[in-house]
């Protein structure tokens, strides 16, 4: 048990689609848990990350909490993986980058349709938004990138299998090209 590879995952500014895709490896997840032990992930609901071998991040960085979580992951994981378009490029959340943050908040909380008791939230519990949404490699060093929105289950599986067995990471063309 002790020498199982420890894996943690997190969803930052993402839609959980990448995590869903991870679950799409279906029954192979049984093989996977033979090999790995999950630390902090939405699957285990563990909140604090311990020392891990591999950290997998879905989603870009849009607020102060994302930065903190990401840095925690970097501190605790030997290998950090950027999974999916949002994490690699900012993706859909980064579409707000063409507007000022003020415009976005006003649209959502002041002038949006059906808004009652209009006000921009300022509770200290709520993480502050960054001016712009960033890909995670602009905040921490990233070791591997898994493109796709989301990367298909097969791609994630191939990657994990190769990584865990210490083989060079290689994909069939169809696994990382979507043309």
């Amino acid at each position: 048990m002790a020498d199982k590879v420890k894996v943690a995952t997190a969803s930052l500014a993402g839609c959980f689609g990448c995590h869903m895709s991870l679950l799409d490896i279906d029954e192979r997840i049984i093989d996977l848990v033979e090999l790995v032990e999950f630390d902090r992930t939405p699957l285990t609901d563990i909140k604090e990350i311990g020392d891990c071998d591999v950290g997998i991040i879905e989603g870009g960085v849009c607020n102060a909490e994302n930065v903190e979580v990401l840095r925690e992951f970097r501190r605790h994981c030997k290998i950090l993986v950027s999974m999916g378009a949002c994490s690699i490029n900012g993706g859909i959340p980064a579409m707000r980058n063409q507007y000022q943050l003020k415009e976005c908040l006003e649209e959502s909380y002041l002038h949006g349709m059906g808004v009652e008791d209009a006000q921009i939230p300022n509770d200290p519990e709520v993480p502050l938004l960054l001016n712009k949404v960033h890909p995670i490699h602009e905040v921490v060093k990233v070791d591997y990138f898994l493109p796709g929105c989301p990367p298909p289950a097969d791609t994630i599986w191939t990657f994990l299998e190769e990584l865990l067995s210490g083989e060079p990471i290689e994909f069939a063309y169809r696994q990382i090209h979507y043309d």
Partner: protein, 591 residues
């Protein structure tokens, strides 16, 4: 401006260019000159006349940085943004002009890539016309004239003066040339003999790639197809190059005859001079020289009395796109399209302008060919080296007392050149433009030659006071701006490199960032479609190897730093929410 005026002018311009769709770019340029911009209301009319769709026309306007729709500003000033202009204070002058003009909305001030005045900068273009030797006083006077709406024709001619600045003459510039002599010699000897002589001379292309001229002409001569074409590449876009400017300004007879000799050899009927938009000021004089050749029976029909030898030359202007110096992009541009490099093969010699066999040569190559036609191969080989016969014109600028144009035999060392132009305390010489090589003093014994340091003619000098990182940033910005956008490695790669460099310059980078630049740089080099992308990472890759000390002092000792300032990135949200609690801040940077 009334609608009638727009319609009439558009009609006139289109008729002038025969309503021919391959002249679309020329129509747009002339229309803009006449109306200060291309009115959107003219697009449908041009579309109907040229049978090119409005979207196609818009895509051409969008491609060329000089073309614009706005017709309201009587003045558009573009400062040359090459590093040599910057070293002469161009940025401060542009800002000064901008602040002077703040209260009037009849002028725009912006930047453009090197305008080819490195020896007499800081330079700018006003409505496409070249201004040289700018200083604060002149900027103030310009602002005053703009405030009073004084037309450019009433501005002092002195401001537009472009000097020859010849500092050293050799084989080409020293030897006299009699009008008509090259054409006469070519007709007397015949095409085969001329080709043999050219081959024996060993002349190689002066535009950068150094392809054997005789071989290019022979390929074209032997290609199948009618209506062959000779194109003179006068795009001279390589930052820091201005030697073709001199040849076009003061030695155009030789150029015209070089093109005509080529026409004789390959059997061409049509010639083009593709003149970069920045050299608009040369157009009228070139046109009248061409006319004088026609009047003297040396161009157009039955040239020099030889029945059936018909050949004429048209001038086409560029519009601010460096990529149009690449020969296949140039041909696209000649056809009135966006300047996107073609897939080669087929090469222009078999399928060029309108798919006809076409020779594209640099100005200097054609001038040398004319001289060889008159004086022969042996004469040419009296100078230069075995592999690089003849001489090379250099455009020298940057930190030296005597910037200007120098003609040297190939094989001349940098030491000698630097001494002649009186450069001292030299830190580096950038040879062959932004895409070229950055040479440290330990290599100054190397020489200008195809077998050593090949160059199109740009020679920029940086003394020890200069921050070379600024040079690297300037060149990288240039490539970001000039990438035609067709292929991803170049379009995206150049932007990624620019961002990393900015990170280094702002002191937030670590060793990891330099490593990333190497990886992105070599990927861009290996996978780009054309020469621009293949060389765009050169300034970074070259200096990382030869001048590592320009990067190292900027690096942090951490292993990784974020690309932006984390805490500053929360500032907007802090202001909107009025929060300043500990959670409203991010401490530290990288991990």
């Amino acid at each position: 401006m009334t609608d009638d005026h727009i319609t009439e002018t558009t009609n006139r311009v289109m008729t002038q260019w025969n309503n021919d769709q391959s002249n679309l770019l020329q129509m747009l340029i002339d229309l803009q000159q006449a109306l200060n911009g291309i009115p959107e209301s003219a697009i449908n009319q041009i579309s109907a006349g040229t049978r090119r769709s409005p979207a196609d026309i818009e895509s051409v306007i969008g491609f060329y940085s000089f073309l614009h729709h706005d017709t309201h500003n009587p003045y558009r000033v573009l400062f040359s943004d090459n590093i040599t202009d910057r070293m002469l204070g161009s940025r401060a002058l542009a800002e000064h002009l901008n602040s002077r003009l703040q209260d009037i909305d009849t002028a725009t001030v912006d930047y453009t890539s090197c305008t080819g005045m490195g020896d007499q900068g800081p330079a700018a273009l006003v409505n496409g016309h070249t201004l040289t030797r700018l200083d604060k006083e002149r900027i103030d006077q310009m602002a005053a004239l703009m405030e009073t709406n004084t037309p450019l024709s009433d501005w002092p001619a002195e401001w537009f003066r472009v000097d020859e600045n010849i500092r050293r003459r050799d084989l080409l510039l020293e030897t006299d040339f009699e009008k008509g002599s090259a054409i006469k010699c070519a007709l007397e000897s015949g095409a085969e003999k001329i080709l043999e002589e050219l081959d024996a001379s060993g002349l190689r292309g002066r535009g950068g790639a150094g392809f054997k001229t005789a071989m290019k002409w022979r390929f074209c001569r032997e290609a199948t197809g009618d209506n062959r074409v000779v194109v003179c590449n006068a795009d001279e876009g390589e930052p820091g190059t201005f030697k073709d400017r001199l040849l076009l300004q003061s030695f155009a007879e030789r150029l015209i005859e070089g093109m005509t000799v080529c026409a004789k050899v390959i059997g061409a009927t049509t010639g083009f001079i593709y003149l970069r938009g920045e050299y608009l000021y040369l157009r009228d004089e070139l046109e009248s020289k061409l006319q004088r050749y026609r009047d003297a029976g040396l161009l157009s029909k039955d040239i020099h009395g030889e029945a059936g030898f018909d050949f004429d030359i048209k001038i086409h202007l560029g519009a601010g796109a460096y990529i149009c110096g690449e020969e296949s992009a140039l041909i696209e541009s000649l056809e009135g399209k966006r300047g996107i490099p073609r897939i080669r093969p087929p090469f222009p010699v078999t399928s060029g302008y309108l798919n006809r066999p076409t020779v594209v040569n640099n100005v200097e190559t054609l001038v040398a060919a004319a001289m060889i036609a008159v004086h022969g191969a042996a004469w040419f080989r009296t100078k230069g080296t075995e592999q690089s016969p003849g001489t090379k014109l250099l455009s020298i600028s940057g930190n030296c007392l005597k910037p200007g144009i120098y003609e040297y035999p190939f094989g001349t060392s940098l030491e000698v050149i630097l001494k002649d132009c009186e450069a001292t305390h030299v830190q580096a010489v950038q040879i062959a433009g932004a895409a070229g090589s950055c040479i440290p003093p330990s290599e100054f014994s190397r020489s200008i030659a195809f077998e050593d340091l090949a160059t199109g003619g740009s020679f920029m000098i940086f003394d020890r006071e200069r921050n070379l990182l600024e040079m690297v940033q300037n060149f990288t910005d240039f490539f970001v701006h000039e990438s035609c956008g067709f292929c991803t490695p170049c379009r995206v790669g150049t932007s990624l490199l620019k961002k990393r460099l900015a990170k280094v310059a702002s002191g937030r980078a670590t060793g990891v960032d330099l490593e990333k630049m190497r990886i992105i740089g070599s990927l861009t080099r290996q996978t780009s479609h054309c020469g621009l992308g293949m060389t765009a990472a050169n300034p970074i890759l070259e200096t990382l190897d030869k001048f590592p000390h320009i990067y190292e002092p900027h690096l942090l000792s951490t292993t990784f730093e974020p690309a932006f300032n984390l805490d500053a990135s929360l500032e907007e949200a802090r202001q909107i929410t009025g929060r300043d609690d500990p959670d409203a801040h991010l401490q530290g940077g990288g991990v």
